[in-house]
């Protein structure tokens, strides 16, 4: 069996200018989109709480939403997951702890009403309130006061007498959002009719760290791959491979941007895989170009590239095809992030194949032409041997 019976002779490189034009346009549009609209950051990066619930009876998402709102959860999003008869839902909330700005103000007032206080200070990122009371107080009293103001309390810590002897320090730790979900939904029920299957709970600080680390990983690997390519091949191949990589990463990021799929750690993994795949594909074609350059010494580089791309076309189609084939299982059975991963990979395979031909190669040609021109200038400027 064979896909391409006869040797093809398409003029790929001839159409490079319109291709580059369109690619640049799309890339810029995506970058502008990321800057203005932004990703739909998942809980990994944005911080917040996600709770997965499975009810033991038939219930609709609207009902769950209504029950949550009745229980005092206002800005919660409820999403059906899996098939309808599974009765599984994903609940998403902004905060991590119950200490929102509004709650913190109320809690602070409640604490101040307990007696002479100093340094009442709420740390929203960590969900804690620190304060110093002139007179020692029972932890229970503090807990009750804060809870009455509408914030669930996990623990009241006595931090001990202050050094200056001006009072005792306390710390109130607000309880997590997930607790609130649980109590809001099981309010009025003797026994909850659902099972809490998963709780994801990421603080805004952690989220920022995770995001930065992810982006750094992406940058590092690009630089490392650039160095490798520059060493293994000629320097003029390096920038092309890099540009193709950036192009592919932006395109896949575009998938997450346009589809509004959750951009989280798995998305970063997908982007990194694309970096690997993109460079894999580019290198296979570069290898062939280098080989053909030796074979057809006199021909201009553009023509050599055309020959190389045509020679490897069968392999390119096959490889993209089989890799896409291996993703089919993930596309059919994958849920949530894994489905997104497979989808992003599919986009990546398509643009990765395209960019090896239309992004990486033209830049190499351009760099080659520039180098040739420079060399010519250099030669002309040299004094002619007598």
């Amino acid at each position: 069996m064979q896909i391409l019976k006869n040797k093809t002779n398409f003029d790929f490189i001839g159409k490079r200018k319109p291709a580059i034009f369109i690619s640049t346009l799309v890339n810029i549009a995506i970058l502008v989109g990321i800057a203005t609209v932004g990703f739909n950051y998942g809980v990994d990066f944005a911080g917040g709480t996600v709770v997965e619930l499975k009810f033991n009876h038939s219930i609709s998402a609207a009902d769950v939403r209504e029950r949550a709102q009745k229980g005092g959860l206002h800005d919660v999003s409820v999403q059906n997951i899996g098939s309808a008869d599974e009765n599984a839902f994903l609940l998403r909330m902004g905060g991590v702890t119950q200490l929102t700005e509004e709650n913190a103000e109320k809690a602070k007032k409640a604490i101040e009403a307990l007696g002479p206080m100093r340094n009442v200070y709420a740390d929203l990122a960590n969900g804690i309130i620190n304060f110093r009371s002139a007179t020692p107080m029972a932890a229970e009293t503090i807990k009750k006061a804060v809870e009455d103001s509408g914030t669930g309390v996990q623990e009241v810590r006595v931090l001990g007498e202050s050094q200056a002897g001006a009072g005792t320090d306390y710390q109130v730790v607000a309880s997590g959002m997930a607790d609130k979900v649980y109590s809001a939904l099981s309010a009025g029920l003797e026994k909850p009719d659902f099972e809490q299957r998963r709780v994801d709970y990421v603080g805004p600080q952690v989220g920022k760290q995770l995001r930065n680390r992810g982006v750094m990983a992406l940058l590092y690997s690009m630089v490392a791959i650039l160095i490798y390519v520059a060493f293994r091949f000629d320097f003029k191949f390096g920038p092309g491979a890099l540009l193709a990589m950036i192009h592919d990463v932006i395109m896949v990021a575009g998938y997450y941007l346009v589809s509004r799929r959750e951009f989280g750690l798995t998305a970063i993994a997908a982007l990194l895989t694309i970096v690997g795949y993109s460079v894999n594909d580019t290198i296979v074609i570069y290898d062939r170009i280098r080989e053909d350059m030796a074979k057809y010494k006199g021909k201009p580089l553009a023509e050599v590239i055309n020959i190389a791309v045509n020679d490897t076309l069968g392999r390119t189609i096959l490889t993209s095809g089989t890799t896409a084939l291996s993703l089919i299982g993930l596309l059919i059975f994958g849920v949530g992030e894994i489905f997104d991963f497979a989808m992003a990979m599919l986009v990546g395979i398509l643009v990765g194949t395209y960019s090896s031909v239309y992004i990486a190669s033209p830049l190499t040609i351009w760099l080659d032409e520039r180098a040739a021109a420079k060399e010519a200038r250099h030669r002309d400027g040299m004094p002619k041997p007598a």
């Binding site: 069996m1 064979q2 991590v96 200070y121 740390d123 960590n126 804690i128 996990q154 810590r157 001990g160 007498e161 050094q163 200056a164 730790v173 997590g176 997930a178 099972e195 299957r197 998963r198 709780v199 994801d200 709970y201 952690v206 760290q209 990983a217 590092y220 690997s221 490392a224 791959i225 490798y228 390519v229 993994a269 990194l272 895989t273 690997g276 795949y277 460079v279 894999n280 290198i283 296979v284 290898d287 062939r288 080989e291 490897t312 392999r315 490889t319 095809g321 890799t323 084939l325 291996s326 993703l327 089919i328 299982g329 993930l330 059919i332 059975f333 994958g334 849920v335 992030e337 894994i338």
Partner: protein, 590 residues
């Protein structure tokens, strides 16, 4: 067939058999054993056939696949810093008064972490500023207006303090989890102020939060030394149960029981001590592995807790004139009084420093200690170096501070996956992988016929190698890891496609079967090598910079790429060579 071929063929057979052999513990752990007992290595070891690899080389399932709790605790260094700044403020005020420079009041801004000194007499402020800044080098000047001087802690000091606070918290968390008896926990530092904890198989996040989130409990308790041979007699009267590994040791004339299992010790001593006494264990650190206990030793303590860490105001490790490491501790006024009373009554006895029900050290009380300052001299014993002793002193100071200076931890992140969800995911995940693999295998066989089947054999071996590799490195298979698995197989297929296309091309040029195969492999080699190495670079960087699921993905990618290099270049070639050279086939079926 030359000798080189036979040699390679032998190696491939050995690798294949080795791979299968190596997967036996994984097979038992995932298929034979019950789900609840999956992580019980002891039980697994018992069930395994004698000739199988040790149980620890089994494929770990990630928390996302088997259920469990993943937590990131943030150490509230801010509160700790605030406390510290405040304490230093008081010290400065005392210093100023002692040196008769004037009189200042110190006030701390909890949000900005700044110290405001206000002089009673504005005229003295110049001299105070000069003297304070040169003496308290860990502060720098922010602003000054008349009688008010604003100071802030020095950045490097702050960072060092933060690091210490996180180390303290880690120490406490690890001890607590050890006590909880969870197998396969993983506690590690994440970034500058967070600690990551994995608790496989656990399902109650509230309980876990409570366990690691509450502040450490430090106690000073008296050791009951009225009968130095207490434990020796206990062992004489009641032989230890078989298999409990309880042995008798002696330290400075006091008998102690020792065992690698804390539970065994507590179980054995239960009900054998007087009513107002309690057996508390000490962890003997494992010299080979940091943060692990090699064994535990018993102490008989008074049940009463006369003094807790709340009364402690500071602890520091230093070296004294005798060149012995020591730990200096100080108490607040109330604590100082209590400590004086305690040491007066207990001269000649030992006092145990207990953190979270774990004896850290039990120094001898030589004399009554007044004034709220005490010194614990570490002394020198055995063949340990000074560094080791100093390190121990620092650890003790850390422990004391952990009780004294609360750097509370708060929950930064919790991911809890129910066991049923994990099972569902693993089912779907492996189904997805199998379907993907099946489609590719089928396609290759159809498209390349015999060469395709050879590639398929390599592909299957590749899959086994990845699993065995993960088991060998004790890596964890996560959901993204399964995705990585599928992707690597895709790359492996690419390598085979490259080779086979090359062979076709060479055949198209009219070459003989032998020449076409040899040249096909030779020419494809560097392409495959480059392609794999670049993907490996991405994988390694992903591994070193990523966390959690990204890391799992990277591990699978790295192992998979290495396996793919081996199978596509070595394995398929050996089989191909057998058909072309050995069988002397004139045609190649590609």
């Amino acid at each position: 067939m030359d000798r080189g071929w036979w040699w390679k063929f032998g190696m491939i057979v050995a690798v294949t058999l080795g791979t299968i052999w190596f997967l036996i513990p994984s097979y038992y752990s995932l298929v034979v054993m019950d789900r609840d007992q999956r992580n019980n290595l002891v039980l697994l070891q018992e069930r395994l056939p004698k000739w199988a690899p040790p149980a620890k080389y089994r494929l770990n399932l990630g928390l996302d696949l088997q259920g469990g709790i993943h937590m990131v605790m943030r150490v509230d260094t801010k509160t700790a810093l605030q406390k510290r700044t405040e304490r230093r403020g008081q010290q400065i005020a005392t210093y100023v008064a002692d040196k008769k420079l004037g009189e200042v009041t110190a006030d701390t801004d909890p949000e900005k972490l700044q110290l405001t000194l206000k002089a009673k007499d504005p005229a003295t402020m110049d001299a105070i500023e000069k003297d304070v800044l040169s003496t308290f080098g860990d502060f720098k000047r922010i602003s000054r207006s008349g009688d008010t001087l604003v100071l802030a802690p020095d950045e490097t000091q702050v960072n060092r303090f933060r690091e210490e606070a996180v180390d303290q918290a880690m120490l406490v968390i690890r001890r607590r989890i050890d006590k909880w008896g969870v197998a396969e926990v993983d506690v590690r530092k994440l970034g500058t102020d967070s600690i990551q904890i994995s608790l496989p198989g656990r399902s109650n996040p509230e309980q876990a939060k409570e366990l690691v989130g509450t502040t450490a409990q430090l106690e000073f308790r008296m050791v009951d030394d009225t009968n130095p041979q207490f434990f020796a007699q206990m062992l004489q009267n009641n032989p230890a149960p078989a298999g409990s590994d309880i042995t008798l040791t002696d330290e400075g004339g006091f008998s102690q029981l020792q065992s690698p299992s804390r539970e065994a010790l507590l179980e054995y001593t239960k009900g054998k001590v007087p009513e107002n006494r309690q057996v508390v264990t000490e962890c003997i650190a494992n010299p080979m592995k940091k943060n692990e206990c090699a064994s535990y030793r018993t102490y008989l303590l008074d049940k009463a807790v006369p003094l807790t860490g709340e009364s402690l105001s500071g602890a520091d490790a230093s070296v004294n004139q005798m060149n012995e490491p020591e730990v200096n501790i100080s108490f607040d006024p109330a604590g100082a009084r209590e400590f004086e009373k305690l040491t007066e009554a207990g001269v000649g006895r030992r006092m145990a420093i207990v953190l979270d029900d774990n004896v850290h050290t039990a120094p001898n009380i030589n004399e009554k200690i007044g004034g709220g300052r005490a010194r614990i001299t570490m002394g020198r014993m055995g063949a340990r170096t000074r560094e080791e002793w100093l390190g121990e002193a620092q650890t003790l100071a850390l422990v004391l501070k952990a009780g004294a200076l609360p750097a509370p931890v708060t929950v930064g992140e919790i991911r809890q996956v129910g066991a049923s969800l994990g099972d569902e995911l693993i089912k779907k995940g492996s189904l997805a992988a199998l379907v993907g693999l099946g489609l590719v295998v089928l396609f290759m066989a159809l498209y390349y016929r015999k060469a395709g089947i050879i590639a398929d054999i390599a592909l299957l071996l590749n899959g086994l190698l990845i699993l065995a590799g993960l088991a060998f490195f004790n890596a964890t298979l996560t959901l993204p890891g399964i995705a990585g698995f599928v992707l690597t197989l895709g790359i492996a297929v690419d390598a085979n496609v490259l080779i086979n296309e090359r062979i076709r091309e060479e055949l198209g040029h009219g070459k003989s079967a032998k020449a076409a195969v040899d040249q096909g492999y030779d020419r494809a080699f560097w392409t495959i090598f480059d392609a794999h190495v670049t993907a490996l670079i991405a994988g390694f960087i992903l591994f070193f910079t990523g966390t959690g699921p990204v890391r799992g993905f990277a591990t699978t990618l790295i192992v998979g790429l290495l396996a793919s290099l081996f199978t596509s270049i070595v394995v398929t070639r050996v089989i191909m060579t057998y058909f072309v050279h050995g069988k002397n086939a004139q045609t190649v079926s590609v």
